[in-house]
Symmetry: C2
Subunit: 133 residues, 2 copies
DNA sequence: TCATCGCTTGACGTGAACGTAAGTTAAACG
DNA sequence: CGTTTAACTTACGTTCACGTCAAGCGATGA
């Protein structure tokens, strides 16, 4: 009853567009903890959830070490009270970081849109002048 | 009349929390083009605008090479028509990347908020049980 | 039984983005 | 005129995040 929903390294790689090397690397960095059947790795639902978060974190520009700390937030089992409080504080900090990043991203999107409008005009001009000639 | 509003490398570093090495590195990578007074670098308003975009791009997880291409969007002088069109296309692509990233960021923020609520409950429980004892 | 396939563990290599140390030069100051 | 001071060049070093062999192990199929 526990055998299903486990994945081999290759299945993982195919599912998440990663390489075996990458998954082993993340394991060495203690980001993933697949179980072992003999020598082979088997990835659980938990590993898949973590991997999703890892890849997402990377797209946001976080380092693997930062991501490792963030991961603890998403699966705080039964930690010590002090540890839980620390984790909680770090989470609120990260949350505010992300909100800031979202504001900046909105700005950037808006600016880029304006540049695109400008570029459209220029392109239209160039097209008009070449047609006139 | 052109002397003001130019900055030395140190002023730039102080203003943008960068190191001289970093600014020279960006120059070597053709991201910045300070003018030279003898051997020394003088950074213009244009350089400052570009540096802001560089630092922002890094926070979004772009590589310097990607950023270099994006920078051309923000100051497309009079380019060739074909080049302008290429640049334009790349910009729309990047824009859609950023919009996607924004959606993901929203998700991430929402999930993290929920985790925080969960953490609050746990903390409250722990506090209650320790007070009862 | 033998060969192939998939996974494994080292171990060294690589590109990006700088850091750092050594030595040089130009301007400014006492 | 000597000496700090600040910026410069050159070049090698470092960290991160993997890539890329090389060699071995375990199941599976002919």
């Amino acid at each position: 009853m526990s055998d299903d929903n486990l994945m081999t390294i290759r299945q993982m790689c195919d599912a998440y567009e990663a390489t075996p090397r990458t998954l082993r690397f993340y394991e060495a960095k203690e980001l993933l903890f697949p179980i072992r059947q003999g020598t082979k790795r088997l990835y659980t639902r938990r590993d898949r959830a973590r991997l999703k978060l890892i890849l997402r974190g990377k797209r946001f520009g976080f380092s693997l070490e930062e991501i490792r700390q963030l991961l603890d937030l998403y699966d705080l089992g039964d930690q010590q009270a002090t540890q839980l409080a620390k984790t909680y504080e770090l989470a609120t900090q990260r949350l505010s970081d992300m909100v800031n990043q979202r504001e900046e991203l909105d700005e950037a999107i808006e600016e880029l849109k304006q540049q695109l409008e400008w570029g459209e005009k220029r392109l239209a001009e160039l097209h008009a002048s070449s047609a006139a000639e």
